[in-house]
């Protein structure tokens, strides 16, 4: 069976380089409590918990659902822990959604987090060895490839970096607050992984995000407008094999088409009002616009250059500031899903896109090989209304 599911509670922490003011339980509860409060529910109302995060060595705690069970109010309940690399925040939300859609549970709490300042994420990403490529080293050649393929001018990446940080300045939870960042500053910032400059790269953040998902009945009883889940999709592909195209991964194309089909979307660029895409390095914005067939080949960067993806543009991308402004790795995917839901509920405050009714969220991970996406709507027929 598949019944409608809705997001009725959203919570996130203030994302920061180090959250030394909270322990691990404190971090997850900050987000979870906010989500419960938003939904006007309590811990005992929750039937099941789904936890997601990136590799455990980032904090040095193995299988943390075990030691966080109490903090998450999970004793006596089912709890699962999802791990799909960078896309984990998204796939965690999808697992939680399935629990409601299939009729198994009526109210599910899902939390994704990373408290990476506890460990050393660079060490973790390097597999503990010297000469690690870092977060961006694997992707930098692919971005170079996109630039060459598409003929994009070099300033596109800088424009995305400025846009996302200016958006973040309207988001009180965002880690980086740089309302005055300029193109020149981005261009002049130190090179990290050529051709990616410092300011074109995501920060390393501590943070958590939580959602409460429920049924149609639950949504009717919730105090604030729900965000209806109109489509979900997950896709994975092999990360390395001879001849693979990691710039436009087939899994990303297929995932997008599956979620569009599920939601009834045939023209994403027109029918989607706002997109939260996992852009940890500036060039991934045009790359995902094309990689998910929102823009045609070579058009992704044109959407950026024309201002279409600005918060007041025709296709706003990452009005929250995105991963470029906050990156608690395990939570970043769920933050995309949460921000899209926040938008269609009309509760995004200063970074609200007016009249956002259909939102798209995407998270990716690994060697651009894991994808999780959802479409949310202000109403169950939000996409139908766009025809």
């Amino acid at each position: 069976m598949s019944r409608p599911a809705a997001v009725v509670g959203i919570g996130q922490t203030k994302h920061k380089k180090r959250r030394d003011d909270v322990s691990l339980p404190g971090l997850v509860r900050e987000a979870a409590q906010r989500a419960l409060d938003d939904a006007d529910l309590t811990w005992t109302d929750i039937d099941a918990v789904v936890l997601g995060k990136a590799p455990d060595p980032f904090e040095g705690v193995m299988m943390p659902e075990l030691s966080l069970a109490d903090a998450l109010g999970a004793a006596g309940k089912p709890i699962m822990r999802v791990h799909t690399a960078g896309s984990v925040g998204g796939s965690t939300a999808l697992v939680a959604t399935h629990l409601v859609q299939t009729g198994l549970h009526d109210r599910v709490l899902t939390v994704a987090y990373e408290k990476q300042a506890e460990g050393n994420a660079q060490w973790g990403l390097a597999g503990g060895r010297s000469g690690g490529m870092g977060a961006g080293g694997i992707f930098a050649p692919w971005m170079r490839s996109y630039m060459a393929r598409s003929g994009a001018p070099e300033h596109i990446g800088w424009m995305v970096a400025v846009k996302d940080r200016r958006n973040a300045a309207k988001n009180p939870y965002a880690h980086l607050q740089m309302p005055d960042l300029t193109i020149e500053e981005v261009k002049d910032s130190p090179m990290l992984w050529e051709p990616i400059h410092w300011h074109e790269s995501c920060p390393s953040s501590d943070g958590a995000c939580a959602l409460v998902l429920t049924t149609e009945d639950g949504a009717k009883r919730s105090p604030h407008p729900p965000a209806w889940v109109l489509g979900t999709a997950m896709r994975s592909e092999l990360g390395t094999f001879p001849g693979r195209d990691p710039v436009r991964p087939q899994a990303g194309v297929e995932c997008a088409h599956e979620v569009y089909d599920a939601a009834g979307i045939t023209e994403p660029r027109r029918q989607v009002d706002i997109a939260e895409l996992y852009v940890p390095f500036s060039w991934y914005e045009p790359m995902w616009l094309e990689g998910h067939d929102i823009a045609g080949p070579g058009d992704g960067w044109r959407m950026v250059e024309s201002g279409e993806t600005q918060i007041d543009g025709a296709f706003p991308v990452n009005p929250s500031g995105g991963v470029l402004s906050s990156n608690p790795i395990g939570a970043s995917g769920m933050l995309r899903f949460a921000e899209a839901a926040l938008q269609v509920r009309g509760r995004a405050g200063e970074h609200q896109v007016p009249d956002a009714k259909v939102g798209l969220a995407q998270a990716y991970g690994g060697a651009a090989q894991y994808f999780a996406m959802w479409v949310v709507g202000a109403t169950l027929d939000a996409v139908d209304q766009t025809r």
């Binding site: 690690g132 080293g137 490839s145 992984w193 195209d245």
Partner: protein, 187 residues
């Protein structure tokens, strides 16, 4: 709320504790990688060619993940130790625990001549970092046989020839056109 970075206060409540852990993992080298390593010591790059689709895996994995068939010594194929840089990045090293790099370093993908295998994350030598180009012709710089050492190779070396090949150096041949490679990505 306490500040971003908590300073320890000798008389105050304990808010932070350090926990350093060291874990050791000893994994047997699998036969396929053991053989790859032996051949590296011999100055050879030997991969497996899938009997079904013909794709070449270097180092060999013992299977073709596309066709989901096993590959064995019978599928061995010797590869050229010279080729072309198809893509690269220059990494500015972050000083994390265990990091030994201090200066920006290149990691390049080298498509081996013969066209059917690419080695990723390779070092380039004898070329300044800012002169690296896609299309550059390079050849492997093998360590002298007596100095070759495969003790760092593990099941998880991700395509490494470390300990045997110091890196790839420009051959001086004219570059191949970059467009030929950048369009096809990879790595």
């Amino acid at each position: 709320m306490t500040p971003d970075t908590a300073e320890p206060d000798a008389d105050g409540p304990v808010t932070m504790m350090d926990y350093f852990m060291q874990l050791e993992y000893h994994e047997l080298l699998c036969p396929v990688v053991r053989r790859y390593a032996e051949q590296l010591l011999d100055g050879k790059l030997i991969g497996h060619k899938c009997p079904s689709c013909g794709l070449v895996y270097l180092p060999p994995r013992g299977y073709c993940p596309i066709c989901v068939v096993e590959t064995t010594d019978a599928d061995e194929i010797e590869l050229a130790d010279h080729g072309t840089v198809t893509n690269y990045t220059v990494v500015t090293p972050v000083q994390y625990y265990g990091q030994e790099e201090t200066e920006p370093f290149v990691r390049a993908s080298v498509q081996l001549d013969g066209g059917n295998a690419t080695m990723n994350l390779q070092d380039l030598v004898d070329v300044p970092v800012d002169e690296v180009r896609v299309g550059m012709r390079v050849a492997a710089v093998w360590k002298p046989k007596a100095e070759r050492d495969v003790s760092e190779i593990s099941n998880r070396s991700w395509g490494s020839a470390e300990g045997c090949i110091d890196g790839w150096k420009p051959t001086g041949e004219p570059d191949l056109p970059a467009e030929q490679f950048l369009g096809k990505a990879a790595f």
